[in-house]
């Protein structure tokens, strides 16, 4: 565009002011991006939840256990492809509460069939099936503690006490799994149910919750209802729902993260809008003569409007993209806080950010641009002489 240098010249007029405004916009968009990442960390599980997976838990409360015997009954039901039970173990490493890991005893074949998003080498899969005290660890937890394949790791359980005959629960790491997607949780520690069942000293035969894979995602509600019917009026009633619904509910418990995020982002954007708008306004006011000259030369009113708008948008987009990019870089390279297993920059946040940057440019520049458009040439030039 041949007019680009003209737009750029407008920004270069007062370099310091342009730079400071650019930095303000950049910071605002960094904040926007970070908040988007935090929100995604809390609620992102919803999008990742398997479309064809259900969660089954004790009807009264998630913390109550269910009989392992339900496994066979669920598997035999129509529409059910696979079943995997999980139990909350509460593993703690080196007896430090901050070293709590999501630990879960499972039946290896069931785990791999239920969660294809866990990527693991075939020989490590085999090792897991062959080693009684074997365990597979997610890449993130392995990196956090510096564990490698072959390491002997002892863990204490916050809930299950000591295993029979031992001080602590002993495991051998036989595999490390990665996530199929950026946001897949790789903080888990999975070991074998048979070892767990044999060594635990109470509640034998009970498990925590069931993951269920169904043949037809569209029939999720129907199949869930049928499963709950099967166990209604028994000593252990169940509640089955789509995995996404369960994850959403869990996130909602943390709080209306969405609303708080929106509120903060709204406040930030409103503030930055005022700052940018004022900058543009000042800039145009100072250039009354120059704009008059452009019009005298033959630039139409609408052309002048567009020039001012372009200037505002260019500044906003440069600042916005810089902020989004910088935030992305930080999120990719930094350690996330302990409470959030996966922190990443979701694409929708980046896209929304780009659009907001453009919108910011337009809204901040519209009034000054309008004023520039309506400038009377004779008035504008009169000031010079």
């Amino acid at each position: 565009m041949k007019f680009l240098h003209l737009v750029w010249a407008g920004l270069k007029r007062k370099k310091l002011r342009t730079v400071l405004t650019f930095l303000s916009v950049m910071v605002a968009f960094m904040l926007f991006a970070f908040l988007g990442s935090i929100k995604a960390a809390f609620t992102g599980g919803v999008e990742l939840a398997g479309q064809d997976r259900l969660m089954l838990r004790h009807k009264i409360s998630f913390i109550m256990t269910l009989p392992q015997s339900y496994y066979a009954r669920i598997k035999g039901m129509e529409g059910v492809k696979a079943v995997c039970h999980n139990t909350w173990f509460g593993g703690v490493y080196q007896d430090k509460p901050e070293n709590m890991i999501f630990t879960c005893p499972v039946v290896p074949e069931d785990l791999f069939e239920m969660f294809p998003e866990f990527i693991i080498k075939p020989e490590e899969k085999q090792a897991f099936q062959n080693t009684r005290i074997g365990a597979i660890v997610g890449r993130k937890s392995a990196a956090r503690f510096g564990w490698k394949i072959g390491d002997r790791i002892p863990l204490k359980s916050a809930i299950w006490g000591q295993p029979s005959g031992m001080e602590q629960w002993e495991f051998e790491i036989v595999g490390i799994y990665d996530g199929a997607k950026k946001a897949t949780d790789t903080t888990g520690f999975y070991f074998r149910y048979d070892y767990f069942e044999e060594a635990r000293q109470r509640d034998k035969g009970m498990v925590g919750w069931y993951s269920i894979k169904i043949s037809d995602p569209d029939r999720a509600a129907e199949i869930a209802a049928k499963i709950d019917d099967e166990f209604a009026n028994s000593p252990y009633e169940t509640k089955t729902e789509a995995e996404a619904a369960f994850v959403q509910g869990f996130a909602n418990q943390i709080g209306d993260i969405g609303a708080i995020t929106m509120a903060v982002v709204g406040a930030v954007f409103f503030t930055i809008l005022i700052v940018a708008g004022n900058t543009m306004g000042q800039s145009v006011r100072e250039r009354t003569e120059e704009l008059g000259v452009l019009k005298a030369i033959g630039f139409t009113n609408s052309r002048v409007l567009i020039l001012v708008l372009l200037e505002s948008c260019l500044l906003a987009i440069l600042g916005g993209f810089a902020g989004l990019g910088l935030a992305w870089l930080i999120v990719e390279t930094m350690e996330p806080p302990q409470m959030l297993p996966t922190v990443y920059m979701p694409k929708p946040t980046l896209v929304a950010g780009a659009l907001f940057a453009l919108a910011l440019g337009v809204v901040a520049g519209i009034i000054p641009a309008w004023q520039a458009m309506r400038l009377q040439i004779a008035e504008a030039l009169r000031r010079g002489g």
């Binding site: 019009k295 033959g298 630039f299 002489g385």
Partner: protein
């Protein structure tokens, strides 16, 4: 003196009235003026006599309250704002008292401005800019910013910008008003040469007799009326 040259500017019974608050001020009160091709006309008059207003009307920067302004074949007083903008780009070149260069652009970029409104290619634009700057004797300073140029040099850039599209009329509003005698004379010499050697039609507003001496014709404006005689 019989004149076979074409009439370029025709102004008939033009009035221009301004409202200041509730007061009506008649700056131009029924003016007639004819300017021929290749004339170098000086418009003189005391401060407030309406010289700049008349210049603005000729240049399509303003519209008369009544009467007609015709430049070439165009009735300028009847064009819309947008039409006027397009018309000005093709037909008028302005030279201002305070140069009015864009400070963030180099000399050559300043001169290029009117060409951005044409469909010329980048290469063609560059050629025109180079020759315009050469015509005013500033080929060695094309990449300089206005703040590094002297007053006289800045005005020359202004003139280069005004002639780069080869306009029909050059309108100058007190072009030497902010310059010292020596620089002012250089500018006037330049304008004269554009008029004599290149046949450019120039209308110049000035209060300086030295400047008007260089013109081919002088008219005087007083209380909104034109005459050939100076005002005492």
């Amino acid at each position: 003196m019989s004149d076979s040259r074409k009439t370029l500017v025709q102004i008939d019974r033009v009035t221009r009235t301004f409202m200041r608050g509730s007061e009506k001020i008649e700056v131009l009160a029924g003016l007639d003026l004819e300017v021929k091709e290749a004339e170098f006309l000086a418009l003189m008059g005391p401060s407030g006599s309406g010289k700049s207003t008349l210049l603005n009307l000729i240049g399509g920067l303003d519209r008369p309250s009544s009467g007609s302004v015709q430049i070439g074949a165009d009735r300028v007083d009847q064009l819309s704002d947008t039409q006027l903008a397009h018309w000005r780009a093709r037909h008028i070149g302005f030279v201002f008292q305070f140069y009015n260069l864009l400070p963030a652009l180099t000399a050559e970029r300043n001169v290029e401005l009117p060409l951005l409104l044409t469909h010329l290619s980048k290469a063609d634009r560059r050629k025109h800019v180079a020759s315009a700057l050469d015509a005013v004797g500033l080929s060695h300073r094309v990449k300089a910013f206005p703040r590094t140029l002297s007053g006289g040099e800045q005005q020359r850039v202004g003139i280069a910008r005004a002639i780069v599209t080869d306009p029909t009329v050059l309108l100058c509003d007190e072009p030497t008003g902010d310059l010292d005698r020596k620089s002012g004379d250089e500018i006037l010499t330049l304008l004269q040469s554009l008029n004599k050697d290149h046949g450019k039609t120039i209308i110049m507003v000035t209060h300086d007799p030295h400047a008007s001496a260089r013109a081919t014709r002088t008219v005087h404006l007083d209380k909104g009326q034109l005459s050939d005689k100076p005002v005492d």
